[in-house]
């Protein structure tokens, strides 16, 4: 009962947050100097005569309607699921542009974040369990060091050595250009092979953080009385480590993971640029550069929904992991 009420209250909060971010997505791009038609004109550098700018503005759907009117129409279109037409990818619709990138971002960054979190948490727990031993002494400083290196540099290094010099992995794209997307073994294998380098760089850059925070919370949990009791009862070490210490130590990390998972959809800009991966981050960069209001709004919307959705999942997981929220 109380758990249901707790979840309901969270849901209300999410609705409010969704409205706020949808509104921000409308306001923020319009605060940038210039307008999209001007951006098109600048991009074409003289191939567009000044006299044609007005006609272009009209064709792209620019009106002199008041901001309030535009905002109401925007909300109306949004409610109907109509995200409009992208300007930088004109005449493709925002929905189709995002659809082309969403799956790849989810796949690459989603998997990388999930792997990094799982790996980091496991290593952290292990390090705490065997405190002061070899693993605990070497890995945290090493991984923190790796995480502190500029990501762009790490990715370029991986691309140049693993992809270009040694030729172990493809240097670009999400799958081999001779294949057509399907669920065949060859295609899936190609996707995996193309994802190894970019995913590995994301993991190298982030796993240290997860490990360190898991290790620190696990150390605290391991000194709790109930762990001592579990040992006294003669439970197996694995059970104590995972079901007693691990489960409780995971809670604070889980909140961070929810946030991280939500931001997956904003893409990993640098990963996508370095490895030519067709994802959302590059799309967002391009949209901002060309003042593509509809695409910026559409991307913000997917990111918002992802953050809120991920947090909702974390709420559910917390209810499941932490009995206190259920009482």
């Amino acid at each position: 009962m109380t758990a249901a009420l707790h979840l309901l209250r969270r849901l209300g909060f999410y609705l409010l947050a969704a409205w706020a971010s949808v509104t921000l997505a409308f306001v923020v791009p319009r605060l940038m100097p210039g307008d999209p038609a001007q951006a098109v004109f600048a991009r074409l550098r003289g191939r567009l005569k000044p006299e044609a700018v007005e006609a272009l503005r009209a064709a792209l759907g620019f009106t002199d309607a008041s901001a309030g009117r535009q905002y109401l129409r925007y909300l109306g279109h949004l409610a109907r699921g109509d995200l409009g037409v992208s300007i930088s990818h004109y005449p493709a619709s925002v929905a189709s542009v995002i659809a082309g990138a969403l799956a790849w971002t989810l796949l690459l960054v989603g998997m990388a974040v999930l792997l990094s979190f799982t790996l980091g948490s496991l290593l952290g727990l292990l390090a705490a369990w065997r405190r002061g031993r070899w693993l605990d002494a070497t890995l945290p400083p090493l991984l923190t060091f790796a995480g502190a290196l500029p990501y762009f540099w790490v990715a370029m290094l991986a691309l140049f050595t693993g992809g270009f010099t040694l030729g172990w992995f493809p240097v670009r794209h999400a799958y081999d250009e001779s294949l057509t997307p399907s669920f065949s073994f060859a295609f899936v294998a190609s996707v995996v092979r193309h994802a190894v380098l970019p995913a590995a760089t994301v993991i190298v850059a982030t796993v240290g953080g997860w490990m360190l925070s898991m290790r620190n919370t696990a150390l605290r949990t391991l000194s709790e009385d109930y762990v001592l009791l579990a040992r006294a009862k003669g439970l197996s070490p694995a059970r104590i480590m995972f079901a007693y210490a691990g489960r409780n130590a995971l809670l604070p990390n889980l909140t961070g993971f929810g946030m991280e998972l939500g931001f997956v959809l904003s893409g990993s800009l640098l990963t996508e640029i370095v490895f030519s991966y067709p994802g959302q981050g590059y799309l967002l960069l391009r949209a901002v550069q060309s003042l593509d209001y509809p695409l910026i709004q559409g991307l913000f919307l997917t990111i918002t929904l992802a953050v809120l959705g991920a947090n909702w999942l974390v709420d559910l997981a917390t209810v499941w992991l932490d009995p206190r929220t259920r009482t």
């Binding site: 940038m32 100097p33 210039g34 001007q38 951006a39 098109v40 004109f41 600048a42 074409l44 550098r45 003289g46 191939r47 567009l48 005569k49 000044p50 044609a52 700018v53 006609a55 272009l56 009209a58 064709a59 792209l60 992208s86 990818h89 004109y90 005449p91 493709a92 189709s96 082309g100 990138a101 070899w134 693993l135 691309l159 140049f160 693993g162 992809g163 270009f164 040694l166 030729g167 172990w168 992995f169 240097v171 670009r172 794209h173 999400a174 081999d176 250009e177 001779s178 092979r193 190894v196 590995a200 996508e272 640029i273 370095v274 030519s276 067709p278 994802g279 590059y282 799309l283 003042l291």
Partner: protein, 541 residues
């Protein structure tokens, strides 16, 4: 779980990956061309949609114009039209349309397709990016081989836009309800490459036109395009011999690109527009030509070109013209513009004269130089300028801002000094019009799409009006030289250097690319429609 398992995982992954090689040999006869930087492609081959996200082949290889202007020879190369003639009053342009050309579906191409294309632009002003219908009164095709254009008033420089308008087939496009929103996924065109044989979000291929009108052409079987979102990726593809033709800026090109492989070639002719330091002449103190000339004289252009442009260019001359207009350049006019030399002492004298004497090593002049962030060559140039100006006692701080913010300031006149490109078209008409015509001057605060210095001269407008009404080459050159003299005299803007047009090719598998020894066309793969000159010439080895 042993502590060395991550190492094992890495080794295992590397092993699995090395089982298959990722560099399959390129297919014979398939030319790999660099597209505009992008992470993924949308399928759009609409040649009329300049403002949209349109794939490279649409205007570079599929749809053809009536004539192709060749900036290296100054000639209009006959393409879908064979000849043109102006009437005596320059109000009628008559073109003879080539016979025997067929669309890629086999249908014959006639003057009616040409008339249809021009009428389409008049019905959809957003597609008329050259603003043709500001000047055209009517178009007609009296027979299959003749196309006529009536002008509202004489405007001969419009020839370039008319000549290079891509022509679309009436029998396909007459059924298109909204040509703005038309993605044209299955193009029917007259060009050398028309058949889209595969299209995926990161790679696509276009094969040759079975009905191409030039006999035995093209010798290349197909064009292939891969998505490269960054310069680094483009460079890797070039160095890995995965790209045959590109237009990349490469620093230290001799060492990085040319020397490692005898098949690697580059050619950077100065055919792009001149890069300027724009002064805002609508505001004091830059309304004074002496101040503008003094700033110009303070700049060490030789050093600027060496540092900011890696020595790929040369200092601009007193006419401001780039090499795309080399045959218009008049030696006497260039000599009159002696304020583009490097002479700090004369700069100081001019500033003293203009009422800005030195006080404790500084002058009462506070300027800023606006540059778009990320344009590293321009930022470097601005820093050199700032340093040179400080040497004559003028403080000019470099301010970088986001591209759209920079462009917005330039347009509204909210700057004192700013780096920027200049207008580039077949003749210097548009270049000088955008620098000196009163018709292009906007009041401060209103967005000016051209003439960012906001400088206007009645004498310039007289010459420009005369250019509107002449198609005689000698007369045209005489008038342009008049404009050069006005530019050299008034210094409406400060030219820095003509920008190179980047181009490189790999002749391992294909031959016939233009270069300094064979300058039949520009090499850059981004110049439309000039790429057609190259695509119809290159052949597999």
């Amino acid at each position: 779980m042993s502590s060395s398992w991550p190492l094992r995982l890495v080794l295992l992954g590397a092993l699995a990956a090395s089982c298959a090689s990722h560099r399959p040999p390129p297919e014979p006869g398939v030319l790999a061309v660099a597209e505009e930087q992008s992470a993924s492609f949308t399928r759009n081959f609409n040649p009329l949609l300049y403002s949209g996200d349109v794939r490279w082949p649409a205007r570079h290889a599929m749809y053809e114009p009536l004539f192709i202007y060749n900036p290296l020879t100054g000639a209009y190369v006959p393409w879908l039209a064979e000849a043109y003639a102006w009437s005596e009053d320059r109000l009628l342009l008559r073109l003879r349309i080539r016979q025997g050309v067929r669309w890629s579906d086999g249908a014959p191409f006639t003057a009616r397709d040409v008339a249809f294309t021009f009428r389409l632009l008049s019905r959809h002003p957003a597609l008329d990016v050259q603003a043709l219908w500001q000047h055209l009164a009517d178009v007609r095709a009296p027979d299959d081989a003749t196309f006529e254009i009536s002008m509202k008033r004489p405007h001969v420089p419009l020839l370039e836009a008319i000549a290079q308008q891509p022509i679309v087939p009436e029998h396909v496009w007459s059924g298109v309800a909204d040509p703005m929103a038309f993605a044209n996924e299955h193009p029917i065109a007259t060009g050398p490459f028309t058949e889209v044989t595969s299209f995926k979000n990161q790679v696509y291929e276009v094969a040759r036109n079975p009905y191409y009108w030039q006999p035995g052409v093209p010798a290349v079987r197909a064009l292939r395009f891969r998505a490269h979102p960054s310069n680094e990726q483009m460079l890797l593809a070039l160095l890995g011999n995965e790209l045959d033709w590109a237009c990349e800026f490469i620093p230290a090109v001799e060492r990085i690109w040319q020397r490692p492989d005898p098949h690697h070639h580059h050619w950077f002719p100065l055919l792009d527009s001149t890069i300027f330091l724009y002064p805002n002449t609508a505001r004091k103190p830059l309304d004074d030509a002496r101040v503008r000339k003094a700033l110009s004289l303070a700049i060490d252009r030789a050093l600027l070109v060496k540092v900011a442009v890696h020595g790929y260019s040369r200092p601009a001359d007193g006419t401001g013209l780039s090499d795309a207009h080399a045959r218009y350049r008049d030696g006497a006019a260039a000599a009159e513009g002696d304020w583009v030399g490097h002479d700090p002492a004369r700069a100081a004298r001019l500033l003293d004269e203009a009422g800005f004497p030195l006080h404790g090593g500084r002058r009462a002049l506070a300027l800023t130089i606006q540059v778009p962030a990320g344009y590293s060559d321009w930022v470097a140039a601005a820093q050199i300028i700032s340093r040179d100006l400080r040497r004559v006692g003028v403080e000019a701080a470099v301010r970088t801002s986001d591209f759209s913010a920079w462009f917005d300031r330039l347009g509204r006149g909210d700057y004192t000094l700013a780096l920027g490109w200049s207008e580039l078209s077949a003749s210097p008409y548009g270049f000088y019009r955008a620098l000196m015509s009163r018709k292009t001057v906007q009041p401060l605060g209103e967005t000016a799409p051209e003439n960012w210095p906001r400088f206007g001269l009645a004498a310039a407008d007289e010459l420009l009006d005369a250019l509107d009404a002449t198609s005689n080459p000698e007369e045209e050159r005489r008038l342009v030289v008049g404009l050069e003299r006005l530019f050299a005299k008034h210094a409406p803007a400060i030219p820095l250097y003509p920008a190179p047009s980047w181009g490189q090719f790999n002749d391992t598998r294909f031959t016939g690319f233009p270069d300094a020894a064979h300058p039949y066309a520009p090499l850059s793969s981004s110049l439309e429609p000039q790429t057609l000159l190259v695509l119809t010439r290159i052949a597999p080895r």
